[in-house]
Symmetry: C2
Subunit: 241 residues, 2 copies
C-alpha cells in the first residue's frame, strides 16, 4: 500500500507545506518507507524527484518541501513495497513517467493489482515497464490504450482520454485496488476506487483556485472522501468532469 | 554551447568529485548558466535530477555532488541556451529521457544543429519533443531510428544500436555540431564531433575500471581528446567499439 498526493491549480502554487505533512508518513508516523517521488509540471514537461529511501528522513524531500517550488500540477507518492514481488529501487519508485504526443505523462498508484502480470499484453505495445511493479505495468497499459486510439498529433480533449482508458480501468480495478492519478500537465485524471480524499479551495486575494488530492487528509481543512467509480478530471484547480 | 560529462564503470562509482568541478562552469568560471542535469542509472532505470537555474550556485547539485550516490552509468550536462530559440526551462534542460524497450534512454548534447527543425519528420514517429531544443528533437529522431529498425522486444547488441543510428548521425552532424552521449544504462554510445575528452582509469585495489567523458578535462589527470568520427561504445568502464 502507498499514499498518493496531487494538486491542480489555476496559478503556480507551492505545495511544500503539504509535502512536509506527507513526509513523516514515509517511515516515521506511517509505514510507507520504501521510497518517495514528486513530479512538478512546468508546462508539458515534468521535473521528477524520486528516491527509494524513506521519505521521513530524506534530505532531498526536506529541501524540496522548503524550496517554494511552484507549479500548477503536482503528483506525489510515498511507497510501501510489496516485499514478495518488488524491492525498493529506482525502477519501482512512483511516480512513473512516459512521453507521449509531446507531453510528459505522470502516473502514481495506490493499491494492488494481483494477477496483472498474467493478463495478456499485445507484443507490439508501445510502452514497456522498466521495473517490476504492477503499478508501472498498469500505467503502460493505460498509455497504450491512449496511444492506440489516438495515433495522430492533435489537440485531444480530456473526454477523449477518459473514453480511451475507461474500459481498461474497469477491467483492472476488478483485479484488486486501483486508486490512481494520471496527468499530462494540463489535466489530472483521477480514479478513486477505495480511498482518496479531495480538498477544493480558493484564495480570494489572488483569485486562485486549487484542488488537492490525498489518500488520507493531510490537514484539518475540509477534506472529503471521493466517491468511488468515475474518472474525475481536474484542470486549473477545478473539476471539469 | 554546453558541456557534457559522463561515466561508465565496472563497479558502482561516486562521480561527486567530478560534478563538483563541473559545477562552477555553470555560471561562475564558465558561461553555462542556463540549467543542469544529472542522470544516475540504477539498472535499466535512471534517476534524473535537473534544474533550469545555474549549476554554480545550485543547492540541489551541491547536495548531489556530496551525496556519495554510486552508479555504473552517469550522464550529466550544464547548459548555455541559444537565447534566440530556446529559453531556460525544464522542458529544454538536458539530459533528456525516453523509455524504449523496457529501459530508460538518456541523451545529452553539446553543439548546435541549425536547420534541424526544417528537416522533414515522419508524422507517425513514436518519440516527440516536449521542449523546443534542437537537441531533444535530435534525440527523438535517434530513438525513432532505433525503434523503427528494432520493433520486437529482444536482446539487442550494441552494434545493432550503432548500425541503426549511424546514417542519421552522419546526416545530422552535417548541420552543425553534434557531440553527444546516449545511454541505456548498460552502454554509453558516444559521438565526438568537435570537442570531447576521455579519461580511462582503473582502481587496482577494487579491480574496478571506469571511463570518464567530458567536453573539457575536469582534472589534471590524463584526459585525452577523442578523435572525431565513429560512435564509440563503452560498457562497464571499458571501450567495446
Amino acid at each position: 500500500m502507498c499514499e498518493l498526493f496531487a494538486m491542480s491549480a489555476s496559478q503556480p502554487t507551492d505545495v511544500g507545506p503539504y509535502l512536509s505533512r506527507l513526509m513523516p508518513r514515509g517511515g516515521r508516523t506511517g509505514p510507507h518507507a520504501d521510497g518517495w517521488g514528486v513530479a512538478y509540471y512546468e508546462g508539458r514537461a515534468a521535473r521528477v524527484f524520486k528516491d527509494s529511501l524513506p521519505a521521513a528522513n530524506s534530505r532531498y524531500l526536506a529541501l524540496l518541501a522548503k524550496s517554494r517550488l511552484k507549479s500548477t500540477a503536482v503528483v506525489a507518492h510515498i511507497r510501501k513495497a510489496n516485499p514478495a514481488t518488488t524491492a525498493p529501487c529506482a525502477a519501482n519508485t512512483h511516480p512513473f513517467e512516459r512521453e507521449w504526443n509531446g507531453s510528459s505523462w505522470i502516473f502514481a498508484h495506490n493499491g494492488k493489482l494481483p494477477g496483472l502480470h498474467d493478463v495478456a499484453r499485445c507484443p507490439t505495445s508501445r510502452f514497456h515497464p522498466i521495473g517490476g511493479t504492477d503499478s508501472e505495468l498498469a500505467f503502460c497499459m493505460l498509455m497504450d490504450a491512449i496511444a492506440c486510439e489516438h495515433n495522430a498529433i492533435s489537440r485531444l480533449e480530456p473526454g477523449d482520454i477518459v473514453a480511451a482508458i475507461t474500459p481498461l480501468v474497469r477491467e483492472l480495478r476488478a483485479l484488486g485496488e486501483f486508486n490512481f492519478i494520471l496527468s499530462n500537465g494540463e489535466h489530472l485524471f483521477v480514479h478513486a476506487h477505495t480511498r482518496l480524499h479531495s480538498l477544493e479551495a480558493s484564495r480570494k486575494e489572488t483569485r486562485a483556485a486549487y484542488v488537492l488530492l490525498a489518500t488520507q487528509p493531510l490537514t484539518r481543512e475540509g477534506w472529503r472522501p471521493l466517491q468511488p467509480g468515475a474518472i474525475r478530471v481536474y484542470r486549473s484547480g477545478v473539476a471539469t468532469a
